[in-house]
Symmetry: C2
Subunit: 179 residues, 2 copies
Amino acid sequence: MASYPNSGGPIVTRVPVGDNRERLVCDACGYVEYDNPKIVVGAVVRRGDRVLLCRRAINPRKGFWTLPAGFLELHESTEAGARREAFEEACAEIRIRALLAVYNIPRLSQVQLIYQADLLSEARPGEESLEVGLFTWDQVPWGQLAFPSVRWALHQEREVRGLAAFAPRGNPPEEDGRY
Amino acid sequence: MASYPNSGGPIVTRVPVGDNRERLVCDACGYVEYDNPKIVVGAVVRRGDRVLLCRRAINPRKGFWTLPAGFLELHESTEAGARREAFEEACAEIRIRALLAVYNIPRLSQVQLIYQADLLSEARPGEESLEVGLFTWDQVPWGQLAFPSVRWALHQEREVRGLAAFAPRGNPPEEDGRY
């Protein structure tokens, strides 16, 4: 695991040579801490006309419904990460079809890659879920979704269903930045 | 800037409560260091039948040709990051058309989002470039490209040219993981 140095040197904030932004720099070992946005990977997982949602057992938004999704880990591909999250949160095996959307949440320094996927197994709550369920469009607990991007993804997955090839969707224009 | 704590507490490697992987944890303040993959944003920038390449003034691969691309910064959207990199490396204003490709480089814990874009201005070397140029397909310095993904992106941009909507490309199957 790449990590912050523990060389004992003083840590200062300055612009490293050849850079144009302030970073945290260790004067003893020369290490520069580049803090960058994080990638969230997840999926709208479908079986027939129903989609898989998980009720969160952890904060933020404990008790609310979300897509299986989470932070990409080191040395993991985005597709593998989306499959892992479905397995961790819903004990679900999935097959990825296509990249549904790329959502930018600059306020949180977060980029979300949400895939369109099929459910290949049963689903039951993993450690981070209170319960999981398969919902038709009318059954989706719209008032109890955990994050705006869950709603975006469900709507956009409905739009692209049946399309052979499509450009991934992004933040809905009217909501861009309001997260 | 979110940053590693400087609370003076001992830093240990263990699995935090509710997690399933070892992380660096500060016992004094409870901070957990989540080290995650980094996002590279860039673009295949076109004017007519020519594409913009930059010869790198810095390592890695100093002296070799690359697309304008670099690490996404905190609080930046992926499109804004791709525009910034084109400006920093080639003093170029660009208009983004579509997401061309998502490349996974798990060995480097890197996810690359490469856009298809048009060149709106002149181009000249920025601080990180020795020179920049516009190349037709036959003029591209194929033997002096900095990274495999530069070649992938140039080939895939050629495939999708003229398509109204397309799914973003990924690592070429025969080269997946060989980076």
